[in-house]
Symmetry: C2
Subunit: 218 residues, 2 copies
């Protein structure tokens, strides 16, 4: 039976993992009877945002500790996990992917992906294990694998797509209920809340992504 990693980046769309995307990923995996392995970097969050007001809060929170809320405590420190622990890896979206897995949210074309994240992604690639990325998370794989000319989608946001292309990626427009598959690089992406509008539409795209990832991992 396959075991699929889910790389979380906090808990909440504005400073962590997008909660709906993460839960719908878990639901789709569970419905296929596939085991999950949640993981997150054990580092301070880039920032904390009050999700009621939308304003920045002065608090400090830890990415692994907050991600554990979505995972109900069943989560591992990214630093202790390697590609040999899983058959595929999925990155849900949310600003956490652009703030806590890399610095895209502030650095744009100069984005650097944080070393532990980059390390696991290269291990997955070298083991020919598939990687899925949802919503804004394709920026992470576009930056890491830019030299391989990866084919990815973040929906139809042309400004963001241009930055992905500056990394070397090939951006492909895609509706919310569909996926883009890069067979050569074993990557699958779907726009989710980059397009919205709601849970049922993002669930369709995420289900397709999960089915494709599980099929490729088999």
């Amino acid at each position: 039976m396959a075991k699929i990693g889910i790389l979380l980046s906090g808990c909440g769309v504005k400073d962590g993992s997008e909660i709906h995307e993460a839960v719908l990923t878990m639901l789709a995996l569970d419905r296929l009877g596939v085991e999950r392995l949640c993981l997150a970097p054990n580092v301070a969050q880039s920032d904390v945002v009050n999700h009621f007001t939308g304003e920045s809060a002065s608090a400090s929170r830890n990415v692994l500790v907050e991600s554990a809320r979505i995972a109900r405590g069943e989560i591992s420190d990214l630093a202790k996990v390697s590609a040999s622990d899983m058959d595929a890896l999925i990155l849900p979206g949310g600003f956490g992917a652009a703030k806590n897995l890399c610095d895209f949210a502030v650095a744009g074309v100069r984005t650097e992906v944080y070393p532990e994240v980059s390390r696991l992604l290269w291990e997955m690639h070298e083991a020919k294990k598939p990687i899925g990325a949802i919503c804004i998370a394709p920026v992470v794989i576009a930056r890491v694998f830019g030299g391989l000319r990866p084919k990815v989608t973040i929906g139809n946001d042309l400004a963001t797509a241009k930055i992905l292309e500056s990394f070397g990626a090939q951006h492909q427009e895609c509706p919310v209920d569909d996926i883009v598959v890069d067979q050569e690089n074993r990557l699958v992406t779907t726009p989710a809340y980059m397009l919205g509008p709601g849970l049922r539409e993002i669930a369709s795209g995420i289900e397709k992504l999960v089915h494709q990832i599980v099929a490729m991992a088999a």
Copy 2:
């Protein structure tokens, strides 16, 4: 078109709303094309639990602000909402229901439901609008409506069921993928993570609850 309230109690199973239960409730509503109105009390959380270690943390957090993470910022202060704003109300589970909507987690048979929560529940009852409760949240409606002899389930946990009966409720055992309907009092309950074991099973029960609530609200 119906509008269904979702009363949240924070963000995370150990000190707030159970995230999977809340998101699956939203998904089921969205798939029926039903609008949602998320709300939460604007009060300090009873406590903050580190979900990675399971230990109590010294931090202080606000229930409305943390609930806004699940609601993606689209949420109202419970104090500003009345039964006239919605056609039905659903309470997801998580320890937040037993800590931030009432004091069940510490008070047991002496449970008091917090006034704003009790106020909205009585308004719903008087307007004959249905109320759903998931997982441990039936303790709240059992305590408020005990005098009406409400029929509810929290799965098969006999110790907790005994406390519900001390409030006046009639407890009915129920599997995770099913619901208990109290037609007279217009209440619907499902055990979800009181029984588990995973997302696909709790999704079945929550979908049934949402369908039943929407049918009763029509």
